[in-house]
Symmetry: C2
Subunit: 688 residues, 2 copies
């Protein structure tokens, strides 16, 4: 296949399969680029960084042993030979050091491919190209001379233009302060051309860090600031790898459990906003310290960060007063994405580190939901997708690539264990899963911190760790659904007086009933844990609000059902989809297409940290997704009333009915291992 | 002259004389703009700010009494009538409120003209158009509604686009934090359209301050950081007026009198750079406090600032290590202009205030010299101009609009009183002017702090304030020149033994002589003040370095002489041009064209503060002015040796000779009132 005149040669690149002819003597790095295969390179072709390694499969397209490509590539020598020997590498070449002298079949290992892919940890995995806002480049600057009156920065600007085709950059003062010291240092002096530096560039617009000589390591932090929990992922900005994940309680909880109490704390308490702002910033700083310590670094290693949160959280971490979010028309101060220096929030990362805040959609649909959409990408699917992030408010998105609508539904704090007689936050001692025997009405449950089902009055006295302290959100959903399946509750949510005759667990006080989940001997408090009629009503109100929001979006979108459902958020991760559907929290759907997707907001923040395109996509989405104001819709009330019934006053649930009909009589009461989404936070820290 | 169909009318605008036809009903503000006369307007035509007032000279081009233009302009009514009445204005209209209904002759008062002019306080006055980087605009933002999910900032962006044609602005977080509170405030609510705000915009790119309702007042600070003195001018950014000027000693003096000792302090002392950085920043902050207090404000009123200094000062106020400036090749960290937030230097101005640093030309020709060039503008003249800023180094520029060259000459600290037996800084007690009677060789002198010439041993005992403590720079120059004129010194600078026979003031110790300027009874110390042969040598060395630098530039520029000389800097302001020329510090020139121009660096900083065009001009100049390295020129040594003679070994001084020949015999000894340049600093604070 080689050119008869032997002046151009065929090059085939695997695994992409790209091929083409290149002239004799072409640099292999350039040759790959000309065929559309971009190789990694920090040093810009100086045989220093070793990032552009390729495997020379063969010099003549026959699949035999790895060779050095002798005769088809210029021989290994000089800097390349030293590099390969020093690093114990054989069977590979540095593309930047080799010239094409014959036909070649080249394998590009994944680690040498520029624009690596990361996988979005969504229900359906998607690959995202790593293209962070901050990247490293190695550059060699000219020596200062008496004949050149310019500053060292101006010489560096010229080097960036010449060596990287980068023009018009600025330099952060904190980086400028280190420029001359870096140029003087021995590491810089060792560079072949002298005065070698590794620069960290933000969006190819600003130099934010200068290191002497050739250096690696660029890190970023993706942070999801939830009302209850703050989660931070430490990422390698070059590879996209998550190097550490840390989570902590949101310290603002002490100023108010739910968002509206924090807004009112900010309104009534002098310095309240400032206090909540500082508290959450301190927590982010602590997470940064822990996460970087886990890889033996300090927060100074952090060059970039992405923060997401609901609009109230976002106002508070930016130091903005959330007052306006406390009442109609719920206007945020700003809904656009926002770039600033991390230091301007009081974060002690690298002194010139950047920080990016994703846009929000509306006063009640914040950047965290935009991040969830980035991760779940309903806008990229043909199927009708429903994405729900449940908290004090539920953010709901519905749609597909034609159009996505979103809304916020006022579910209230019942799903978080508030307003429930024995409700509590998910923490050791909380009942998180429940089964009721449909015949005996005896309960079994799981307690956070105890590994196994607790069966009351079965066997020896209860060990301390198995003693319950209350019921958390996922437990409440299951118990109400189980009470309904066991016939303790009617479809309208009333505890049936008739059930008192089936078991002593169901009690009647004249007008309403209650169900005893645990007796005084089984709890840590020595007091029984019951579910009252009011508790059931609170859950009905919450689930009806959620369902009515979904129905309104379906009406606006003109669809009768959905193809898939993603339950996002820590709470969503612990909800059993079957019970959620039995309760009528979510509409009917093929149960195999209902997935708990974990901390999707954190995943979306990570995507935005690692990809400028994802940041642009977030901005596009925030403008493109159509926000529907459920509160002002007259139909909301009608939908809400119909959704009070369990599962619903009129909507059919054919998929659910098929599942319930097909299962063995005892399946619900004896479930297999629980399907639990991978969660990045420990069980004791989630909000469910 | 009116249009026959009465549908277009003739409009003449004074004092510009612009004229043209406009259709009936044209808004007068728009009409002026269409004829190329831009009127001021903060409110954007809402009859609120009153900045667009015009005088209706007449409605039919006849020069009679001021009228309201009845019949030729729409009648006064509504908001305009209220505004005029409230402010007691008659005979004027708000252009934004009036419509053209007939032929008109309109006078635009200076205060109504946009782009006012300020006068550059240079040797030759020049007018500079006020066009600051920060300006105020009044804008009315739409109310948030339930149907509009955007943030208040996004609505404000729309208002800026609609009402001011401004697009793509960003907003500083510190400003964003005040947005919603400003929108809620009563002042904003009073606006006709509701939600009126006055924004301060930096370069029409970033919102840096938000004030509710219509507001005025935008202030900036121009600062010249000299090695000895820091001077700050507080300016009104709209009118260009200097509202206050404050000066203080540069506190870095305690770390080293001259630049190189500060560089070495930074090299040898841990935290030395940081300490010097903080000290000068603290001083700038104090000057800002004093200057704003003088107009009843605080530094928070400051929205913009320009800082200039020589390269060492510039490094230190930016917190950059000046180490590299201590040795060849004297590379600054950066030679470009630099924009940053004042807060990033630790300055507590407005939290989002900007700060601009002018570019420098080379390691020894800093932004202060660029500022001097802005003020003196040799590049705009046809004449061959020499601009000298004397300090430890003299910065010299020579040229005209074809080309300007610059250099730095190592004059050493002798001109500042160092290395002189009885030298001292200019402060009360310092001898600043000297005359020697050519016949008797008796001196007369002036002492800073005493108003009159001191004649030794004449009259009653010397009052305390008239007693000298030493000689400052301007005094040293005069005394050496006077010693030469009186024949005490030969042209090669040697004290003449023969002179001892003419007066007891001249003394001989066997090999060298000295001159007694003041006896023990006339000084504050009780010890005599003398000028030694070594003192004369030190002055010769300094003046020869300066002159040689000038000669080298003349050679590079290919000229034999100069048309005008500007002596810049506080020291330059106090040098008597005649004595400087007698000494051979400056080349021969028509003495009426030699001017002391005061703190030209501070004036240049003020121009840059008030004009974006001047900032651009500074950047252009820094690149355009050709820097000549005198230190590496072989010819420098030859020129230096020839310049040691007084005034020079070979150069003719025809202008000087003519002046000396024409004057009455006693003119030098009995000068009239001293020509003193207006100086913005008190006498006790200058560096001369």
């Amino acid at each position: 296949m080689s050119d008869s005149g032997n002046n151009t040669f065929q090059l085939v690149l695997m695994p992409s399969g790209r091929r083409g002819a290149v002239p004799r003597g072409t640099n292999l790095l350039d040759a790959c680029r000309s065929l559309g295969v971009e190789l990694e390179s920090i040093c810009g072709g100086r045989q220093t960084c070793g990032k552009c390694q390729v495997i020379v499969e063969v010099g003549q397209f026959a699949k035999h042993a790895i060779t050095s490509g002798a005769g088809h590539l210029s021989p290994i020598a000089g800097v390349e030979a030293a590099y390969l020997e020093k690093n114990g590498i054989s069977g590979r070449r540095l593309a930047c050091a080799a010239e094409v002298t014959g036909d070649l079949l080249i394998s590009v290992p994944e680690e040498s491919q520029a624009r690596k892919q990361i996988i979005a940890k969504a229900a359906t995995e998607r690959a995202i190209v790593v293209h962070p806002a901050v990247r490293l480049v190695y550059v060699e600057s000219a020596e200062a001379t008496m004949g050149d009156p310019r500053g060292d920065w101006e010489r560096l600007e010229d080097a960036l233009a010449e060596q990287w085709k980068l023009h018009g950059l600025s330099i952060d003062l904190r980086a400028l302060r280190t420029l001359q010291g870096s140029l003087r240092s021995p590491a810089a002096r060792q560079a072949a051309g002298g005065r070698g530096l590794t620069l960290a560039l933000w969006r190819d617009r600003e130099v934010i860090r200068i290191e002497p000589g050739y250096a690696e390591g660029a890190h970023g932090l993706a942070v999801d600031v939830g009302s209850t929990t703050v989660v931070a992922h430490l990422c390698d900005l070059r590879t996209g790898a998550v190097l550490a994940t840390e989570a902590a309680m949101n310290p603002q909880v002490r100023y108010g459990e739910d968002l509206m109490s924090r807004v009112s704390y900010g309104m009534t308490e002098p310095q309240g906003v400032e206090r909540m702002h500082r508290a959450v910033i301190r927590t982010i700083q602590e997470l940064a310290e822990k996460a970087t310590a886990a890889i033996g670094r300090t927060p100074e290693a952090l060059l970039d960060a992405v923060l997401v949160g609901n609009t109230v959280m976002q106002h508070l971490f930016l130091g903005l007063d959330p007052l306006e979010l406390g009442g109609a028309p719920f206007a945020p101060a700003s809904s656009s994405s926002y770039d600033l220096k991390a230091r301007n929030l009081g974060l002690t990362f690298h002194p010139a580190a950047q920080l990016h805040v994703l846009p929000c959609i509306a006063g009640h649909v914040g950047a965290d939901h935009v991040a969830v959409l980035l991760a779940e990408a309903p806008h990229q699917r043909a199927e009708m997708s429903l994405v729900i992030d449940v908290g004090t408010n539920a953010e709901i998105s519905l749609g597909n690539r034609q159009e996505v609508l979103c809304a916020s539904s006022p579910t209230g704090p019942a799903f978080e264990g508030a307003q429930i007689t024995h409700g509590q936050r998910a923490a050791p001692g909380a009942i998180e899963r429940v089964r009721i025997d449909p015949k005996t009405l005896e309960p079994r449950y799981r307690v956070i911190g105890w590994d196994g089902w607790v069966e009351p009055e079965a066997g020896p006295p209860m060990p301390e760790a198995a003693r319950a302290t209350g019921i958390c959100g996922s437990g409440i959903i299951e118990i109400v659904a189980e009470m309904f399946l066991a016939g303790i509750l009617s479809s309208d949510g009333r505890i049936q007086e008739a059930a008192t005759r089936r078991s002593g667990r169901v009690r009647w006080n004249g007008r309403t009933g209650e169900y005893q989940l645990a007796g005084p001997n089984e709890t840590a408090t020595g007091k029984e844990i019951v579910v009252t009629q009011n508790d059931v009503r609170a859950i009905q109100l919450a689930k009806a609000a959620l369902y009515a929001g979904v129905k309104l979006l379906m009406a606006h979108r003109g669809v009768q059902g959905v193809d898939r459902i993603s339950l996002a958020g820590a709470f969503g991760s612990y909800i059993d989809p079957l019970h959620a559907m039995v309760l009528g929290m979510i509409p009917d759907c093929d149960l195999s297409r209902v997935a708990a997707v974990g901390n999707a907001a954190g995943d979306g923040a990570r995507l935005a940290l690692l990809s400028e395109e994802q940041r642009a996509e977030a901005t596009r989405l925030a403008g493109w997704v159509r926000h529907v104001q459920t509160a002002t819709e007259p139909a909301f009330q009608t939908e809400f009333v119909a959704a009070m019934a369990i599962p619903h006053a009129s909507d059919p649930f054919p998929h659910l009915e098929a599942v319930l009909a097909a299962r063995p009589a005892d399946e619900v009461t004896a479930p297999g291992p629980r399907r639990r989404a991978k969660s990045t936070r420990s069980r004791g820290q989630h909000g469910g």
